[in-house]
């Protein structure tokens, strides 16, 4: 069913998804962005484990918003805030929740502000954030 953006209300949970940050998922992300720190010692978590680049978590959390809100072609990303509160290891399961904070129209363009919250392992908050997007009319 198409999303009626005009009827989205602040406080409404617009996306909730779980995903495993397995090695293949992280590798696809790292290859895409070209992150040179990904293979280096800085992301060594000890015992053979690896941390994921921090923005992997943000990208995955925004993915839920893009999919569940059925973001239309031409939508622009205007602003992004993130706060990382714990490192995430390759293989961890993330739960990403997005809640609408603001829904307004300026100059004929709809502006949505979405609050992001990401937990690992079901209870450990690893990232919070805020995305501001402009949806075409």
């Amino acid at each position: 069913m198409p999303v009626d953006y005009a009827n989205l209300k602040p406080g409404q949970v617009v996306s909730q998804q779980a995903c495993v940050l397995d090695a293949a998922t992280v590798a696809r992300y790292v290859e895409a962005v070209g992150d040179q720190t990904a293979a280096g010692p800085v992301l060594d978590a000890g015992g053979g484990a690896r941390y994921v680049p921090a923005m992997t978590v943000a990208a995955i959390s925004v993915r839920g918003v893009v999919n569940d809100l059925q973001i239309p072609g031409g939508t622009l990303h205007l602003g992004q805030e993130v706060e990382f509160t714990d490192a995430v290891k390759v293989g961890e399961t993330l739960t990403c929740r997005a809640t609408l904070a603001q829904n307004s129209v300026r100059g004929g363009q709809r502006i949505l502000v979405v609050i992001l919250a990401v937990e690992a392992g079901g209870s450990r908050t690893v990232m919070t954030g805020k995305s501001t997007i402009m949806v075409p009319p």
């Binding site: 895409a32 962005v33 941390y51 923005m55 973001i71 072609g73 990303h77 602003g79 509160t85």
Partner: protein, 132 residues
């Protein structure tokens, strides 16, 4: 690093191939990034990179400069000001704005930006990190 010091920068070529790989990795298939016909009718007249793809260079720069504390305490506040086009080589750069020590913990705030080859600032913002 102390106040006024420049961060080690990150430079990256944003190719169309990279944008398409990012679309798959991030599940963001907005045609403004991947469909030349659609993008030609947009305000920009051509395809543009995902903002989060370009913003990733800032997080990489902070990891490069501050290591694992960035993964555990990094904060970013970014404004995406101008598009990055396929073929642009962008540079993420930054400077320490303040560095304060409080009860054994070091709080660092940096001004950060991503600059296009034509000198236009694509992303601007602030990054903060706390280290023991």
């Amino acid at each position: 690093m102390k106040e006024g010091d420049a961060l080690k920068p990150v430079t990256r070529e944003i190719t169309q191939e990279r944008i398409e790989r990012y679309a798959v990795a991030a599940g963001d298939f907005n045609p403004i990034h991947i469909d030349a016909d659609f993008a030609s009718r947009s305000h920009f007249g051509r395809r543009i990179a995902h903002g989060m793809l370009v913003a990733a260079t800032i997080s990489e720069m902070m990891t490069l400069n501050y290591g694992q504390p960035w993964l555990r305490s990094g904060k970013l506040k970014l404004r995406l000001k101008a598009p990055v086009f396929p073929g642009d080589t962008v540079t993420a750069r930054g400077q320490v704005k303040s560095a304060k020590e409080e009860t054994g913990t070091r709080h660092v705030a940096c001004v950060v930006e991503v600059v296009r080859p034509d000198g236009e600032v694509a992303i601007t913002g602030e990054a903060t990190v706390t280290a023991a």
